[in-house]
C-alpha cells in the first residue's frame, strides 16, 4: 500500500511540502471566499445602492431633419421642438406588482394598453439597453404638468425635448412634401435604413421619402454619468459626439403657383388636381390635389376621427394625390395626341377637310358631338378650336386597325411611369388592340378590340385612364418640340449656409420627332380654342393678356357626372410652362377646370384677366 514511501527516500519530505502547499491553498481560497461573502452578502445592500447611484447613460441626441424650401428659398417645412414622454426603466419599482401598476397608470395617460407599453419598452431596450425609453412623442403640456405634480406616482418618468416637423404654410403642398414617421420593422431591414434604430424618424411619403437620405441627419451620442435620480453628476460628461443636422432640400415649387392652384381647387369644393410644369426641363412649379390634408396631424398622436378622415374615406381620400395617382379619362384634352398621330402618320394634313354633320355612325353605333352640335366642313385648326368630336372620331376610325394612336400616346408618356421623384405614381392604362384582345382571350371582357374603342380613345374616352401628370408630359412635349422631360420637384440640396451641394436636373427621357408644321398647326388650334371666339375656352381666357394655347376636356366617367379638364401651354407660340387642372364632376372643361387654370396663370404671370362677355362654345 505505502510502497511509494519506501521506494522514494524523499517521499516523506515531499508529503510534508504537499501538505504545506495544500494548507496554503485552503487558506487562500478561504480568504477569497470570506472576502466574497463579506462584499456580496454582508455589504451587498450598500454596494447595490452605490451601483444604482452610479451609472453612465448614453443619450442619443436626435439630429434635426433638414428644412424643405420652395424655389425662392422660403421655408415649407422646418422643425419645432416638442415634448416626449420618456421612461427610465432602471428606476422602475423593483416589486413587479408596483412596476405593473405604474406602467398601467402611465399607459392610461397616453391611451396605451399595458401590453403596448411593455412592448414599446422591450423594443427600445433591445436597441439601446439602459437608455431612457420614449413612450410617446409630442405629448401636451397638460399631461406634463400632471406628471410633474404627481412625480411620486411615476418614478423614472421624464420629459425630453424632441424635434417635430413644422409646416409654416399649413396644408400648402402637403402631397408634394409628404410626411415623416417612425421607421418600421420592415424598413429597418432595407438597405437605405440599415444604420437606423427603431424609433428613428424617416420620410414616409412625398419628398420626405424620396430625398430622405439628404434630409435625415446623423444622430449624436452623449454619454454622461448620472446618479440614482437620473441627474447628471457634475463633470460627468464622458463622451460627446454631436449630431449632424440633415441637409436642406430646395424644391422646384413656385409658392405662388402652388398656393393659387390649391386655392383654385379648394374654391370649387370638388375633388380635383392640378399640375404646373416647366416644359423645357420638367421642373414642377405646382402640384396639388383636393381634398388635401394637414401634415401636422402626423406629428402628434392621432385621434380616431383623424384616422377615419385620412384613411377610411374612399370618396374623398385626402392622402390620395389625384395629380399623380389619379386614373381618369381626359375627354377632349386628349385630342392633341390624336391630332399628332394623324398628322405624323399622314392620315391628314393641316389642310385636310372633314365634314362634321353632328354624328359618325360606325357599325350601327352613333358617335355624336356634345350638345347635338354640328360644325360642317372643318380643317384641323377650327376642329380643335370648337373641339369637334366628329372630326376626331373620324381620325380614330381611320387609325383603328393600325396601332398609330397608341404608339403616339405611349411615346408621349400616357400609360407609363413618368420618372417623377415622388414615391407614388399611377402608371395609367392606355387601351390598345393587344390589351383588349388579351382580356377577351382570358374571358375578362365580352368583346375584342373594335373600331369604337379607337374612336373613343381619339377623344380621350372609353377605357383610357391617365392623370394630370401624364397629360402634362404630353403637352410639354408638344410645347417644346418633342422632348418628353422627366418631371421632378427636387431641385437642389443646400447646406445650412445656403451652399448648393447637389443639383437635380434629370435629362429628358425621350425625344419624339414632331414635324414643326404639325406642332404649329396644333398650337394654333389650341390658341384659338382658348382665346379666340368661338373657341371652347374663349369665354375664360379671351380677356387674359398672355397669349396661351389651351384645350378643354369633358370626360365621361361611368357612375359620375362629367369630369372637367383644362390643359394650357403658355405663352403661345413658344410655351414655357404647361398647366393642367382637372375637377371631378366639374362639368364642361370651360366650366370649372379652365377657370382654375386661369387662376394659376394669373398668379404665375401676376396679371388679372379682364371679363369677357362672349360665352365660349361647348365641346
Amino acid at each position: 500500500m505505502f510502497a511509494r514511501k519506501d521506494q522514494m527516500p524523499e517521499g516523506s519530505r515531499l508529503s510534508l511540502r504537499i501538505a504545506v502547499l495544500g494548507g496554503v491553498a485552503v487558506a487562500l481560497f478561504g480568504i477569497l471566499s470570506f472576502r466574497l461573502w463579506n462584499l456580496q452578502i454582508l455589504s451587498g445592500d450598500k454596494y447595490l445602492a452605490e451601483a444604482k447611484n452610479n451609472r453612465t447613460r448614453s443619450f442619443k441626441v436626435i439630429a434635426p431633419r433638414g428644412d424643405i424650401l420652395d424655389r425662392d428659398g422660403n421655408v415649407l417645412v422646418d422643425n419645432r421642438t416638442s415634448l416626449a414622454l420618456q421612461l427610465n426603466t432602471l428606476k422602475l419599482p423593483d416589486d413587479p406588482v408596483e412596476e405593473r401598476a405604474e406602467l398601467k397608470r402611465l399607459g392610461s395617460l397616453v391611451h396605451f394598453s399595458l401590453r403596448r407599453v411593455r412592448r414599446t419598452i422591450r423594443e427600445e431596450e433591445e436597441v439601446a439597453a439602459g437608455a431612457p425609453v420614449t413612450i410617446r412623442r409630442d405629448v401636451g403640456y397638460d399631461l406634463i404638468a400632471y406628471i410633474e405634480e404627481n412625480q411620486r406616482k411615476f418614478p423614472g418618468v421624464a420629459v425630453q425635448r424632441v424635434f417635430v416637423r413644422h409646416y409654416p404654410d399649413g396644408t400648402l403642398g402637403a402631397h408634394v412634401l409628404g410626411t415623416v414617421g417612425e421607421v418600421s420593422e420592415e424598413e429597418l431591414k432595407e438597405r437605405p435604413y440599415k444604420h437606423l434604430e427603431s424609433g428613428d424618424e424617416v420620410g414616409k411619403a412625398g419628398v420626405e421619402y424620396t430625398y430622405d437620405r439628404y434630409l435625415r441627419g446623423q444622430p449624436g451620442l452623449t454619454k454622461i454619468q448620472v446618479n440614482a435620480l437620473g441627474q447628471p453628476t457634475p463633470g460627468g460628461q464622458l463622451v460627446s459626439d454631436p449630431p449632424t443636422p440633415g441637409e436642406n432640400l430646395k424644391l422646384t415649387i413656385d409658392p405662388e403657383v402652388q398656393a393659387a392652384g390649391e386655392a383654385a381647387l379648394a374654391s370649387r369644393g370638388l375633388p380635383g388636381a392640378f399640375i404646373s410644369m416647366n416644359v423645357d426641363n420638367g421642373q414642377i412649379l405646382g402640384l396639388g390635389s383636393f381634398p388635401t390634408f394637414d401634415p401636422t396631424v402626423f406629428t402628434k398622436p392621432m385621434t380616431q376621427k383623424q384616422v377615419n378622415d385620412l384613411y377610411r374615406d374612399p370618396v374623398l381620400a385626402p392622402l390620395f394625390d389625384r395629380a399623380t395617382e389619379g386614373a381618369y379619362p381626359t375627354g377632349s384634352s386628349f385630342k392633341i395626341i390624336t391630332a399628332l398621330a394623324a398628322l405624323e402618320n399622314g392620315v391628314i394634313t393641316p389642310g385636310t377637310t372633314i365634314v362634321d354633320n353632328g354624328e359618325l355612325i360606325v357599325g350601327g353605333q352613333s358617335f355624336h358631338n356634345a350638345g347635338e352640335a354640328s360644325y360642317g366642313a372643318l380643317t384641323l385648326v377650327p376642329a380643335l378650336q370648337v373641339s369637334s368630336d366628329v372630326f376626331f372620331y373620324t381620325l380614330g376610325l381611320d387609325m383603328w386597325d393600325s396601332n398609330d394612336l397608341q404608339e403616339w400616346a405611349h411615346k408621349l408618356g400616357i400609360g407609363r411611369p413618368s420618372g417623377l421623384d415622388l414615391p407614388e405614381e399611377f402608371e395609367g392604362l392606355l387601351p390598345s388592340r393587344q390589351w383588349r384582345d388579351q382580356l377577351f382571350k382570358e374571358g375578362l371582357t365580352e368583346r375584342p378590340w373594335s373600331a369604337g374603342d379607337n374612336i373613343q380613345l381619339a377623344t380621350g374616352q372609353g377605357d383610357l385612364q391617365t392623370n394630370p401628370l401624364q397629360m402634362a408630359l404630353a403637352y410639354a412635349a408638344l410645347g417644346n418640340g418633342g422632348r418628353v422631360v422627366t418631371p421632378h420637384v427636387g431641385m437642389e440640396v443646400v447646406d445650412a449656409a445656403g451652399r448648393v451641394l447637389k443639383e437635380f436636373a434629370p435629362k429628358a427621357r425621350r425625344k419624339v420627332h414632331i414635324d414643326p408644321g404639325s406642332r404649329a398647326a396644333i398650337l394654333e388650334g389650341l390658341h384659338e380654342a382658348a382665346q379666340v371666339a368661338p373657341g371652347t375656352a374663349a369665354g375664360v381666357f379671351g380677356g387674359f393678356k398672355v397669349p396661351i394655347a389651351g384645350k378643354t376636356g369633358t370626360a365621361e366617367r361611368p357612375g359620375h357626372a362629367d369630369q372637367s379638364w383644362f390643359a394650357a401651354l403658355s405663352p403661345y407660340p413658344d410655351p414655357r410652362i404647361v398647366t393642367i387642372a382637372t375637377i371631378e364632376e366639374g362639368g364642361f372643361g370651360a366650366e370649372s377646370a379652365a377657370p382654375a387654370v386661369l387662376q394659376i396663370l394669373e398668379a404665375y404671370y401676376n396679371t388679372q384677366a379682364t371679363e369677357v362677355s362672349s360665352a365660349g362654345g361647348t365641346e
Partner: protein, 400 residues
C-alpha cells in the same frame, strides 16, 4: 553432484484477451475526469458569461467575444487531449530546446511585437494575437523542472539554488521589461514552485523571502526616493492604490472601487441583465481582467462561489497528480503548474475583490483571450499526461 537447483519457470499466463478500446488509445481511460470537468466547466461558464455580458460591446456583432472565446476553448480542449496522450517525460529531454524557445519567443516580442497601450507583449497573427509569455508559463515549468532533476547531483545546495533562480529569473526579467509586471510575477512564482518541489531547503526559501521583501522595499520606497524609479508610474500606482482606494477614486483605485461595487451589488443571486456596473463601462476590461466582477454582479455570490469552487476542484486534482506522478520530473512539473494556477487565480480574484493590487494577470480559463485559454488548457493537458503515465506504470496503486 550438482547442487545447483534449477528452477523451472512455469510459463507466464497469457493475459486476458486485451481489447484496446478507443478510450484507451486516446488515453481517456486514465484521464483525471474531475480535472477535465473543472477546466471545461470554467471555460464554458466563461463563454456563457461573455455571450451575455458583451452583446453590445462590438457594434454590429453581438457575438464577437462569444464566438472567439468559443473557438479558443475548442482549440484548447483539442490541445489538452493531444498532450494527454503524450508522455510528458519527453519534455525533460527537450528542456534546453524548450528553454531556448521560451527566451527567444519572449525576446522576439521586442522586435516584432504588436504594441498595445505602451507595452509589447504579443505577435499579431491573422486570427488572434499570440502572447508568448502566456505559453511561457508552462514552458518555463517544463524546462526548469528538467534542469532541476538533471542537476540534482551537481554542485553544492547553494550553488544549485542560485542556478535555478538564475534560470527562472532570466525569462521573468525579459517579460518584466515588455513591460508585463503580472506575467513576470507568475514566472517568478512558477520558478519558486519548481524549486519547492525540487527539495530546495526551507532555509534557502527563508533567505529568498527576505530578499524579496527587501527588493519590494527598494523598488517602491528607496528607488523613487533617490530618483531612479524601476516601475512605471502606473505600475506603482496600481500596486499601491489598493491599500488606499479612496485616495485614488478616479485613478487606478477607481477601477477597483468600481469592481467592488459591482461584486457587492450582485448580492446573493446577482442582478442579471440589470447589472449596470459591468454593462455600462464602469468596470474596465470587463471581458478580460475583471470578468470575475462581471460574474459576481450578474450571477451573484452563487455564481462567484461556483467559479471559486471549480478552481478549488482544479487545484485539488492538480495537487493530487503531484503525489501520483511516476517520477520526480512529473512531481516538479505538476507542482509548478498547480502553484502557478493557484497564484493566478488568487491574484486575479483578489484584485477583483480589492484585496490584491491590479497586476493585469488574467483569470485562467475565464478571462477572454486566446493565448491564455490555450496555454492553460495545454498546462492541464500536461497534468493529464502525468496522471495517465502514473496509471499506466502502476495500476491499482493507492491514491487519496
Amino acid at each position: 553432484m550438482n547442487t545447483y537447483a534449477t528452477r523451472t519457470r512455469s510459463p507466464r499466463p497469457e493475459p486476458f484477451a486485451v481489447h484496446v478500446g478507443i478510450a484507451e488509445r486516446l488515453g481517456l481511460a486514465h484521464m483525471d475526469w474531475p480535472l477535465t470537468i473543472a477546466a471545461v466547466a470554467l471555460v464554458a461558464f466563461s463563454v456563457f458569461t461573455l455571450g451575455q455580458a458583451t452583446q453590445h460591446d462590438v457594434p454590429g456583432s453581438p457575438h464577437y467575444y462569444l464566438e472567439r472565446q468559443g473557438i479558443y476553448a475548442a482549440l484548447g480542449v483539442i490541445g489538452m487531449l493531444l498532450l494527454t496522450r503524450i508522455d510528458y517525460s519527453r519534455f525533460r529531454e527537450l528542456r534546453v530546446g524548450i528553454y531556448t524557445f521560451l527566451c527567444a519567443s519572449v525576446a522576439l516580442v521586442f522586435v516584432f511585437g504588436f504594441a498595445a497601450r505602451g507595452s509589447r507583449r504579443s505577435f499579431e497573427l491573422p486570427f488572434f494575437s499570440f502572447q508568448p509569455s502566456e505559453l511561457g508559463k508552462l514552458l518555463l515549468v517544463l524546462a526548469l523542472a528538467g534542469f532541476v532533476i538533471d542537476g540534482a547531483r551537481r554542485g553544492s545546495r547553494i550553488q544549485r539554488t542560485v542556478r535555478y533562480l538564475c534560470l527562472g529569473l532570466a525569462p521573468a526579467a525579459l517579460v518584466f521589461l515588455q513591460p508585463d509586471l503580472g506575467t513576470s510575477m507568475v514566472f517568478v512564482v512558477a520558478t519558486l514552485a519548481v524549486m519547492y518541489f525540487g527539495s530546495v531547503p526551507w532555509t534557502h526559501f527563508a533567505v529568498i523571502g527576505g530578499a524579496l521583501v527587501a527588493l519590494i522595499a527598494l523598488v517602491l520606497v528607496a528607488a523613487p526616493a533617490v530618483g531612479t524609479p524601476v516601475l512605471k508610474g502606473y505600475q506603482e500606482e496600481r500596486l499601491t492604490s489598493f491599500l488606499s482606494p479612496h485616495e485614488h477614486e478616479r485613478g487606478a483605485g477607481y477601477q477597483q472601487a468600481q469592481s467592488k461595487v459591482a461584486l457587492g451589488a450582485g448580492q446573493m443571486t446577482g442582478r442579471g441583465d440589470k447589472a449596470t456596473q459591468t454593462r455600462l463601462d464602469f468596470v474596465p476590461e470587463r471581458h478580460t481582467d475583471f470578468i470575475f466582477a462581471v460574474i459576481g454582479e450578474r450571477y451573484g455570490f452563487m455564481g462567484a462561489a461556483f467559479v471559486l469552487s471549480l478552481y478549488a476542484l482544479l487545484f485539488w486534482r492538480a495537487l493530487r497528480i503531484v503525489t501520483l506522478s511516476k517520477n520526480s520530473y512529473g512531481t516538479l512539473v505538476a507542482g509548478g503548474i498547480a502553484v502557478s494556477l493557484l497564484f493566478q487565480v488568487f491574484v486575479n480574484v483578489g484584485m477583483n475583490l480589492g484585496i490584491m493590487p491590479i497586476t493585469g494577470i488574467p483569470l485562467p480559463l475565464m478571462s477572454y483571450g486566446g493565448s491564455s485559454v490555450l496555454a492553460t488548457f495545454l498546462a492541464v493537458g500536461v497534468l493529464q499526461s502525468i496522471n495517465v503515465q502514473a496509471h499506466l506504470s502502476q495500476r491499482g496503486r493507492f491514491a487519496w
